[in-house]
């Protein structure tokens, strides 16, 4: 029997799972007939975890226990800008872990970002298992094309934690193009304009009968639909401050209300020319006065608010067109991906830029997961004639003296690719060579993303410059970077240590997998037969409506005329714990989970997952490295910020 492998679009805001069966791709809906689920994880007091649209509804009442937009943080170092920004915006606790990692602290428990994402993936795995009636252990997971190695590795780790063998980390725009062109026998050049919740990518592809070749991909990981919401939040908050002289940003509950109102208003502006936002109780002052917001925003006003954001996307498009050596006139089609591209203001701007209307026959919320499913099927031999030739989105660079870098593999180079550089020792009898590896387009090391610091040792001791170490940089079809080294004279593999990495160590991964944390999500069956998971009933396209509908009293909150009313909601409306469990709230809720395999603890074969060619990279903390430093790198008067290596300019 054919192997089952699903495609998962793990989005900043929403996640979607699809499967290709008998040559047809279907988006798998959850127990509540929703085709996408919010990428939100809510932690209950009893330690159980809720994922999806119902979890999203919890953010109003318990923002500190509800993690959204984890994708913005995955694979980042604690010192990065994005982490600081998230700390200002999200009510949940973001803390620093050893080795500059990032953890989320909820109810005094710490979670890594891959663990949070694993909970969302676990939910998708269970949805798929419900549909196929058997265990699902293989998946293709998509990421923004512009994701760097750290982010890709962390996403892959999330898959492992969720009990999935990740067949491929696939770029979202590539997946979208695959879904668009698969089996059509077309010969087209297309641009994929992918504006997600937190990232923007544009890819230019040439689609042939059986080959999908990415010509160029460019992006901005700091630009997404959330930024459009932020503009409305700022408008509301500034108005509130001007009127009441109280800043609602300082109150997590008030801030969540503004966020939800802004998102709803934004979505409503796709339908109506004008939206009235009415929140009766944004916050209550110390003297007991309840302060609210009344604000009307028109499409034209919104257009002004977000004008610069839209222009930023076209700067990225300019770059992609240039890198692919094409002009917009060479394009046969433009595909829109991501919820925010439903906004008429974006559709119009895209049409003006590309001088053609975007394709109407592609669902921007589902097309990525469908493409992932097609690729998953082809990787288990289910689908043929769809070969993807993708590229690496960023320059791969190595640190050189003076805090500078130089490229080893330039962006938009097709993958898989491998380049070898030869390094030599700097001092007599030097025992190790250290190399910093970066991704990014900047000469200054500090302006790029640091992938890791590698230390190579175990080569022959000899006078300086006599030892030559070949360091091989490989980018695999996942876009993941592998670094290995060999001693040129002996041909023996040098031992490699990653001395700085944002990744979880193998030991940590083992512990996490052993603790089966992800199984807390939607515990298949508790003794009394109740479910810990509930996904609220909602129309597939309107997650906001879903968020509003968990409590019948809240159903009236979203008025048909486009105005938004949050007056029904108060923190003390918090539903009793029992009501968040699915006790058959909808008919298929019970059916849906009773065929899920028990235990939930799928065994993971690490050997199988690890790349066979990848040297087993051990990891140690920076502290350990420093204490173990033999001082060989101390050179007199050297103020070199970069690793002390000399690059031998010769091709291998």
């Amino acid at each position: 029997m054919a192997e089952i492998a699903v495609g998962i679009d793990l989005g900043t805001s929403n996640t979607c799972v699809s499967l290709m069966r008998d040559g047809k791709v279907e988006v798998l809906d959850n127990a509540f007939a929703e085709r996408t689920s919010a990428s939100v994880v809510h932690f209950h007091e009893d330690g159980s975890v809720e994922v999806g649209n119902s979890a999203k509804a919890k953010v109003i009442h318990s923002p500190a226990e509800t993690v959204s937009s984890a994708k913005r943080l995955i694979g980042r170092y604690y010192f990065s800008e994005e982490v600081k920004k998230a700390q200002a915006v999200y009510a949940y606790e973001i803390i620093e872990a050893p080795n500059h990692g990032v953890r989320i602290e909820i109810r005094e428990e710490e979670f890594s970002l891959p663990e949070i994402s694993a909970m969302v993936l676990r939910e998708m795995k269970q949805i798929a298992e419900h549909h196929v009636g058997e265990s699902v252990t293989k998946a293709v997971i998509t990421v923004p094309a512009y994701f760097n190695d750290n982010q890709r590795q962390a996403t892959k780790d999330a898959g492992r934690i969720a009990g999935l063998e990740v067949l491929r980390i696939l770029n979202e725009p590539t997946a979208a193009a695959l879904a668009y062109g698969f089996g059509m026998g077309m010969n087209q050049r297309v641009a994929v304009y992918d504006l997600g919740g937190g990232t923007f990518d544009v890819s230019v592809l040439e689609i042939g009968k059986d080959i999908f070749e990415v010509l160029a991909t460019c992006g901005d990981t700091f630009l997404g639909g959330d930024d459009f919401d932020d503009r409305i939040i700022d408008l509301l908050a500034d108005g509130f401050v001007a009127e009441h002289n109280v800043n609602p940003r300082n109150d997590p509950y008030a801030f969540e209300r503004l966020k939800l109102a802004a998102e709803t208003a934004k979505n409503q502006l796709s339908i109506d020319e004008e939206v009235h936002i009415s929140i009766a109780d944004v916050l209550t002052t110390e003297d007991g006065t309840v302060l609210g917001i009344e604000h009307t925003i028109t499409r034209a006003e919104f257009a002004v608010l977000v004008h610069d954001l839209i222009q930023r996307t076209f700067k990225v498009c300019d770059e992609a067109m240039q890198q692919s050596d094409l002009t917009v006139r060479d394009l046969d089609g433009v595909i829109l991906v991501g919820g925010p591209t439903r906004l008429p203001i974006i559709r119009e701007a895209v049409e003006a830029y590309f001088q053609q209307p975007p394709r109407q026959d592609v669902d921007p919320d589902e097309v990525v997961s469908m493409g992932a499913a097609i690729h998953a099927a082809s990787l288990v031999g289910e689908a043929k004639d769809a070969m993807l030739l993708d590229v690496t989105p960023l320059d791969l660079r190595i640190g050189v003296a003076g805090g500078l870098t130089e490229p080893v593999i330039e962006r938009n180079t097709p993958v898989p690719i491998e380049q070898t550089r030869t390094f030599t020792t700097f001092q007599d009898h030097q025992e190790s060579v250290q190399i910093s590896v970066y991704q990014g387009d900047h000469r200054m090391a500090a302006d790029n993303a640091l992938l890791g610091e590698f230390e190579f040792s175990g080569f022959t001791k000899a006078p300086r410059s006599d030892v030559k170490i070949d360091v091989t940089f490989e980018i695999d079809p996942d876009g993941i970077v592998n670094v290995t080294a060999t001693d040129q004279t002996t041909g023996a593999a040098a031992s490699t240590q990653i001395t700085l990495s944002s990744r979880l160590g193998e030991t940590q991964m083992d512990q996490i997998i052993a603790s089966d944390l992800a199984a807390r999500v939607a515990t298949p069956s508790t003794p009394d037969g109740e479910q810990h998971i509930q996904l609220s009933p909602a129309s597939p396209c309107d997650s906001i409506a879903a968020a509003q509908e968990t409590n019948p009293a809240e159903e009236s909150a979203l008025f048909g005329d486009g105005s938004v009313d949050f007056s029904e909601e108060r923190p003390d409306d918090l539903e009793p714990e029992s009501s968040v469990r699915a006790t058959g709230g909808t008919e298929n809720a019970e059916e849906s989970y009773d065929i899920i395999m028990g235990g939930g603890g799928d065994e993971i074969d690490l050997d199988q997952i690890d790349d066979e060619e990848l040297i087993q990279l051990t990891e140690e903390t920076v502290d350990e490295r420093e204490s173990g430093n033999d001082g060989l790198f101390d050179t007199s008067g050297a103020d070199l910020a970069g690793p002390e290596i000399e690059l031998v300019k010769e091709a291998k």
């Binding site: 080959i211 288990v380 070969m387 130089e406 490229p407 180079t413 097709p414 690719i417 291998k652």
Partner: protein, 175 residues
């Protein structure tokens, strides 16, 4: 997409001689191939050697196939880019190496162009500089003399030749 079309022996043989092939030979095209020929050859090779086209291969064969695939990508990456291809053709003509660092290939050509413009030898650069100064000062005759001097040190410098020709044209036009 299946390995049935490719012989295991073929993979092993190619992986053995891969280092002795230049990029054109590897892609099985003529050195005069057009960009679209190069692209077509890359697609054909990918259909055979890309890891996704060989999912049922295991062990050494899989490794060999992967190595070939990466080398094929490298060849495509160099040959499809005009600047890289020029730098590679130089290198190949000199017989120094059958491969080139993709990141350096672009710079190599930029450096060559810079050398063409300003000179590759200290004397060439010196007289070229003098010629530029003369030109700014309106001394056309001086400029011609100096660029001729520069050419005695770098007879093959196309940039110098072009400059000399242009200066002569201008002088002709004036007189």
């Amino acid at each position: 997409m299946s390995t049935s079309t490719i012989d295991a022996l073929e993979i092993t043989a190619l992986s053995k001689i891969m280092d002795e092939l230049d990029y054109y030979q590897l892609l099985n095209i003529e050195p005069s191939a057009s960009t679209s020929d190069i692209r077509r050859a890359f697609h054909n090779s990918s259909r055979t050697f890309h890891p996704d086209a060989n999912l049922d291969l295991t062990g050494d064969l899989r490794k060999q196939c992967r190595q070939i695939s990466k080398r094929v990508t490298e060849a495509y990456c160099v040959l499809r880019d005009t600047r890289r291809r020029l730098a590679y053709d130089d290198k190949r003509a000199n017989g120094t190496s059958l491969r080139i660092q993709i990141a350096e290939a672009r710079n190599a050509h930029v450096e060559r162009r810079k050398a063409e413009r300003c000179g590759a030898t200290p004397q060439g650069r010196q007289f070229h500089g003098k010629a530029e100064t003369d030109l700014k000062a309106g001394n056309l005759a001086g400029a011609i003399q100096n660029i001729q001097m520069a050419l005695t040190f770098e007879a093959g410098n196309a940039g110098f030749k072009a400059m000399l020709e242009e200066l002569r044209e201008r002088k002709k036009a004036i007189s």
